[in-house]
């Protein structure tokens, strides 16, 4: 009972800054801890990232058995963590194991919709895999209400690649350019201001005139009173 779902292609938001030496692929094997024994993990599925640069990934996950559904609901009721162990295999055959967890109740209330953030360094090696739950269904807020096995159908997972970015260097080039541009402008001479005297300085003249007018208007009255 395996089902293949191909998920959306996601390009990293700041892809212009992201930096990767060379493209590569990854295979991530997921195991989740459902039983009371904290060191016991059972197989959940596989994620294959075929290209790190453009974030192409597809996953292949088991449908949950009734027993597994019950275990997840039990975790949610105890407000426990739903923990996932991810084993990453690289193209050169090396392997790395990561652990990530999310609150079981948020996972249940989102009907098993989760996102895997895969952080990779500049050589394409994974630094962390983080499982998060994005949206919770309305009315299924964590800690309130009961959970039904019917809420849980199958895992719907997105895979997002988070790449490392290249550190900034002091931007001397554009600063020098700017200085040179300004120097050029000065050499050519400032742009001739062809406006008339009044057009240039009206903002100073108007208040003075207004002031004079006001004082002129008040003075005669004072003179008249004398």
């Amino acid at each position: 009972m395996q089902k293949l779902t191909v998920f959306l292609i996601f390009t990293v938001v700041s892809s212009s800054l992201a930096y990767l030496d060379s493209d590569g692929w990854l295979n991530i094997e997921l195991h989740h801890a459902l039983s009371s024994d904290p060191s016991k993990f059972s197989f959940r599925g596989n994620i294959t990232v075929s290209s790190l640069t453009n974030g192409l990934a597809n996953d292949d996950q088991n449908t949950l058995t009734a027993e597994e559904k019950q275990s997840i609901i039990k975790l949610a009721e105890n407000n426990d963590f739903y923990r996932v162990r991810a084993t990453v295999s690289y193209s050169d055959g090396s392997k790395n194991t990561f652990l990530t967890s999310t609150k079981a109740c948020t996972l249940v209330s989102s009907q098993l919709t989760d996102v895997f953030w895969v952080s990779v360094d500049s050589n394409g090696f994974v630094t962390a895999i983080t499982e998060t739950v994005v949206g919770q269904l309305p009315g299924k807020i964590c800690g309130s209400g009961e959970f039904q096995p019917s809420d849980l159908v199958e895992f719907t997972s997105d895979v997002l690649i988070r790449q490392m970015e290249l550190g900034p260097i002091p931007d001397t080039a554009s600063f020098i350019q700017k200085v040179e541009r300004e120097k050029e402008a000065r050499d050519k001479g400032e742009v001739k201001d062809n406006r008339s005297f009044f057009a240039k300085y009206w903002m100073y003249i108007v208040p003075v005139v207004v002031l004079v007018m006001i004082s002129g208007a008040t003075n005669p009255e004072a003179g008249g009173a004398k």
């Binding site: 652990l99 967890s101 050589n123 090696f125 983080t130 998060t132 931007d171 000065r186």
Partner: protein, 914 residues
Amino acid sequence: MSKSVVLCLASILFLNSTLGLYEDQIKKFDWKLTQIGKVNNAFLDLNPYQQNRLIVSTEENVIASLDPLSGNVQWRQILENQPRGQLKLIQMLVDDSAPKTAVRHQSSKSPYDILTVQGHSPAIVRGWNAFTGNLEFEWSLVPLQTETAEDSFWFHGNDMNLYHVIPNFGSHLEVTEYIANNGNSKGTTSKISASWIQKDKCLISGSYYICLEGSHLLALDLTATSPQILKKVVPSSPKTSLKAVRGVSGAVSLDGFIYSFDEKEKLCGDKVSGQSLLKAFQGDESLLVEADLKNNVLEISVKSVESCETWQNVKSTVQYPSHNGVPEVLAFSCRTNRQNTKVCSFVLTTEDEALLYVQGDKIRWAREEALANVVSGEFIDLPLSDSDGSIEDELKSKPGNENDSDLFGAFSRRVVSQIHLVRSIFLHVLGLGPAPTATQKAGLIRDAFGLHKMLVVLTQTGKVYGLDNINGKIHWSNYLRSVENFNNGEEMKLIVQRTSKHFPKQPICTIITKSAETKKGVLFSFNPITGAQIGETNNLNYEIQQIAFLPEDTTEFLKAIVLFDHNNQVHVIPENYKKQADGLYLFTANKKSAILNGFHLKFNEKSGQLQPQPIWTVNLSGHGSTQEITSIAAKNPIEHVHSQGRVLNDRSVLYKYINPNLVAVVTQGLDNIHKFVMNVHLVDVVSGSVVFSLTHRKVRGPIKIVHSENWLAYSYFNDKVRRSEITAIELYEGKVQANSSVWSSLDAPPMPLVERQSYILPFSVEFLKETITERGITNKHVLIATSAGNIMEMPWFYLDPRRPIIQPNQPREEGVLPYIPELPFIQENMINYNQTIARIQSIFTAPSGLESTCLVLATGLDLFVTRVSPSKTFDLLKEDFDYYLIAMVLVALTSASLFVKQLSARKILKQAWK
């Protein structure tokens, strides 16, 4: 151009708060302790002809001259750091023609007074003038083989020449003789075959090379024309290590026995009765000094070598402070007083790194040299005075307490407190009764602005001091014996478990450290105001891996300590706080493997145990596991962020990304293509998510990092262009805020927008620290300690990553300077003005009671305490504020207006009669 320059200047003028001091403010808000480090060699020169002096060399590679009367530094030369500057030899010149004093007589024609030899590749030989501390000559020696030269040593022969010895362990010794003041070698290198020499089992004593070989001591006189191996039998399993006897050539002590190989040297028996022994000349007489510590009484006796009898009845019995530990006599000197008896002075160094000067039966002065190696500093509020305390009591009404809520109760408390106040006037102001506590007698009472604090300083040796932050007086000290820093160079911790805000409960500070012997954890609690120990020293039976704290509880106001041991077990101290640790998140980081592990603590009701559940793993080791963690920077837990956002030029708000769980992790490693690679990761340590990462290529350490609010700044050395640079990062949530009241790392918080920029620094950085104030309203400045010994207060708007490269006709944002790649070196922002702080290691900051003011402690070889006001002292009147003038003006105006009113009333009356 001119327009933009004017703009630039104007913005700098308006933005830049002038921070410089006025001349009359020098040393008003700051003080400095000049330290030299633990003394390991001393030469005392008391003679009637010249100024007295005490010449010392220290473990910090410092040579200095102290005034024997006061212990003040006359001059100090700070030599190169380890390992390049490792002080291998310091020799005072002993001139045969002049009286045998430590320092050259004025008539001496010798070209130097003090000779030092440092390092091995190259070895630097220097001659110094003892009176001025000036360098007289210098030469260096580059060894042929650097590997063997590392173990090389030097000694000064009786013929005034310098001998350089390179041991080739397991085979032979190479000895070369040099003329001390010019470095010319005398003759060729002689090879002495000695297959029995081993590393760590041999030492040099005068001109003798002595090794412990099984149950034998083997020695060679290196100055002899044909050296013979001398042998002595010792007990086969010695308890102590081999130690050379000071002032003697060819003598070592082992297990309390002395073994002398030079027949000319008399030592009066082969058993040491005291703990410390020294042989020295006094005039023409050769004397032995023995010091013995019994029940806090130090007995120093002087014997003549000729007769082995007590010399001239010289004996000192000193009341010795127990916290100083075991002393060692370094130097002594005597002079004849008017009654024609001898008065002797002894210089001792102690286990806790103090330098004592004993004269007669008294300690004349002591220098606390442990302060040259500070690992942690905390500013603690002083207790309230009695009257303030009762007012505090009166105002403090606990909501749960019924007696407090009713009107009558409040009234009666008020009457009682006023009676107390009246009583205290009679007792203290009129001087009828004694001050109630010792701390109040010492003037340790909180001031109105909270600027006067107790500065608790923890040092590397395990000594804690309580210093007054206003004048630097040492109020108390405690010494924790045989403790050391944690693994990976992680320093021991000084934490405040209860602040002094909770009167009448006493404040508690705790030191968490590691035992040097068992490598297990040690906890030591004390009252930071009095220095008194609270409870017993807690010797734990496990090694500490990670330390965390619980939030302050509401009844005892105590912050409990959560310890994570090496078997990933959780312990809470005190025990009864275990239940409150339920739901706590912890993380551990492995420096070598660059793996971070996150845990969630769960309290098991049945077993009463805390169980850590691993919840995340982050692996930053990268390609081929080359990266190692070099630095981790979290935010200051007491920090408040006052402003949630930043106003842009279109009047919209850019909200700050303020994640209290965010920690910056710096990893460094080598790379095949880019040589040195440095990565900076921002990790949310609750969810284990890597929020943001940056990589820098061809960048080397040392990395200094500061992390606060929504920003991060780190400095490093750019290997490609060979200069120091600093990168600033700011994180923003965007124009809308996801949840303004609660932050949860687990509920998929928004990803931040990251602003970044790098700047060139005109200096190299030793430490970075942000200023902190009580409510976080005041601007944050970054304190930059430079390698030249300055501390620069750099306003954040210079480091701001949003500084734009301005295009003409572009709208400008308020408070944002145009981008200039190089940061300025602003002279008036140097908070230590001309008081250079030698070898700055770290800076500690703490808020004061005033919002505008932040207290600063800078440590290194020297100690410097000051206060800074990043946004100027907006909540304080200027200190030259003229109270009299304003009072006079007020009085004059009021009386004038009354007088004029009278006049006008009279005038109106007169007019009415007209």
